[in-house]
């Protein structure tokens, strides 16, 4: 009989070391997996982690890290605010989609007018779209006590249908020979989220992510609201006695995470992706959940975790083409990362007891 016994005081060092240990464990077991597939494990791990950063073509891959990492960080920062308070927004993918639709729609409404006001307007529209989409589960939770996990998740599928409808109807490129998908915003200068400095990968979404990190850091460490968020997560009753208005907190956390996810979608559609299409979303909203936890819900940790996830994606694709590793093996590798993190978290917070022991 194995029991888990809660540790009275989990080690502070361990809770910081677990993400690193998880990465190391992933490398070891991932390496074993690659070896079992008949590939050189050292070479595979190096290809995934070293090649994009310091390899021959790192001048191309490093900017790609920012492009891939920015939406993850932006979304994860918002999610972490809610997660800290025990408010579970699982539907960031949907908010990301709606933000992209609203942002792109606002821009395309003015096509082909050129004006410096178009891009800021798109940012506003994207933020607002994501925010409102996330406030639906927020409102339902506050008003009717529904479960925000289920509602926000189900709204992802609604958003996907909306995306398909937009690609085939309202936002369809009139010059696209009847094919689905909007005009390409990369070819519409006023709406294009171009790189601020060429070849650095630094687009406005990266800037927004950095600003979000700083604001969230200040909010959590220096601001009353950040304190309310932390207390609510750790001791909801105490928070209530302390004068925290739970309804307002729920709306703030969901609205804010939706806003940031919407921004991420908007910057993506106006920049790297370029167009609204049926397959526009590629799972950033879900991967960001892993990023938020891997980063210990801490803004700086999330930056590191976001870049690490981006690295495994980019390095994973390189390993596929250079070493012939199957895509599924790369996905298992990424899954291991979360698995080991969660497993080590359990061991940090709980002690494993063998034998029967007395039943509580």
């Amino acid at each position: 009989m194995i029991r888990l016994e809660k540790r009275p005081q989990p080690s502070a060092t361990m809770s910081w070391a677990t993400p690193l240990l998880a990465v190391v464990a992933t490398m070891i077991f991932g390496g074993a997996l690659f070896a079992a597939l008949g590939k050189d494990p050292i070479e595979a791990i190096l290809t995934i982690f070293w090649e994009p950063l310091f390899g021959e073509f790192s001048f191309f891959y490093r900017p790609q890290l920012l492009i891939k990492g920015a939406p993850l960080v932006l979304i994860a920062i918002g999610l972490a605010l809610g997660f800290k308070a025990g408010i579970w927004n699982i539907g960031a993918e949907g908010q990301y989609i709606v933000g992209a639709i609203c942002g792109a729609g606002a821009g395309l409404a003015f096509y082909p007018t050129e004006s410096i006001f178009i891009f800021p307007l798109m940012i506003l529209a994207g933020a607002l779209g994501g925010c409102l989409w996330a406030l639906i589960p927020g409102f339902l939770k506050v008003r009717f006590g529904t479960n925000e996990i289920l509602v926000s998740l189900m709204l992802v599928y609604v958003a996907e249908q909306l995306l398909a409808s937009m690609s085939l109807g309202l936002l369809k490129n009139p010059e696209g020979f009847g094919f689905p998908g909007s005009r390409n915003l990369q070819q519409y200068p006023s709406a294009h989220n171009a790189e601020i400095i060429t070849n650095t990968g630094m687009h406005w979404g990266v800037v927004a992510a950095l600003i979000a990190v700083i604001f969230s850091y200040v909010l959590l460490t220096r601001h009353r609201l950040g304190f309310a968020i932390r207390v609510t997560g750790e001791a909801p009753r105490a928070a209530k006695f302390g004068g925290v208005n739970p309804a307002r907190l729920i709306l703030f956390c969901l609205g804010m995470s939706g806003l940031l996810a919407g921004l991420a979608g908007m910057f993506e559609v106006a920049g790297p992706s370029g167009q609204i299409s049926i397959d526009f979303n590629v799972g950033y909203g879900f991967t960001a959940i892993i990023v938020a936890f891997l980063g210990r819900l801490n803004p700086l940790g999330i930056v590191a975790a976001g870049l690490l996830m981006a690295l495994t994606y980019i390095g994973g694709d390189i390993a596929q083409s250079q070493l012939g590793l199957p895509a599924a093996a790369i996905q298992v590798f990424q899954g291991m990362l979360l698995f080991f993190l969660l497993a080590l978290d359990v061991l940090t917070n709980y002690r494993v007891r063998f034998g029967t022991g007395e039943v509580a």
Binding site: F59, P180, G274, G324
Partner: protein, 360 residues
Amino acid sequence: MKFTTLMASAALALGFAGGAIADGHEKTKVGFVYVGPIGDGGWTYEHDKGRLAVEAEFGDAVETVYVENVAEGPDSERVMTQMALDGADLIFTTSFGYMDPTNNVAAKFPDVKFEHATGYKRLHPNVSTYSARFYEGRAIQGHIAGNMTESNIIGYIGSFPIPEVIRGINSAYIHASRVNPDVEFKVIWVYTWFDPAKEADAAKVLIEQGADVVLQHTDSTAPQAAAQEAGNVVTFGQASDMGQYAPFPRVSSIIDDWAPYYIARTKAVMDGTWEQKDTWDGIGPGMVGIGEISDRVPADVKAEALAMKAALGDGSYHAFTGPLNKQDGTPWLAEGETADDGTLAGMNFYVEGIEGEIPQ
């Protein structure tokens, strides 16, 4: 501009450095970007068979690389760039959504040849497009389906409402209704190329609605399994033979045979004779194959189907031959008139007799 030069020179440098080693002859490197897993048993599986055929044909003179499960959008752009940087001479991008990324990357690597499947944009002299006239196969399917249905309800699993899929529905309907004027088509749009769970659900819904023939324009074998379970439902293999479901429910199939094209294009790159072109081949040149028609199809129907295949192959019969009206009753093709490629390429209407609307 500077970046372009940098990329091109990097690729060039590597090309020379990489090519000169070993026994002196330079390998031609061919890259493949896949939207699904190579084990999907359909679309991507057939493209990968084409890749293996290239390897078999040229042996040591070529090296092929591939990356599977590549999302359309910035991820695909990165994967293509990475292949070009790694010294690929020729890159096949095998999904419609890779259209803009293919052209973007082609602009940066003028010396690398790009081949984009099912698209229409050739913005640079190093981009070709290719596709197959799947609708010719659909005509044969429609003929068999119209003869075999007893409930007179034919189910159709549509992926996306794009011209390619709409062409297939029209072609199948025209030929089913010619042999069976009472036939009715029920179309379900699943908005995915590959999702076994969704495809199975769609098949089950169609069967429950009385369909005893299910046609699919999606890539997995899940609908075949659903039909097998139902027991008395006829299916056709899609993209690949799906022969494991023969002789019943799968009574025939449309097979995409990319091998001859891939071999020819690779050869052209080797010989230095590669030129931009737009290829749209059907049964005649062998890009569309018809899988063996099983004995569950009555002998006379089978003979008619084979005759139609021969006629489509030698060009004496066109799958869209008038008289045909559009869904709203307006005349489209007069008696004996055949559809032109332009109309077919952008087909966004149903022919007369099909009920329901194309989603907008």
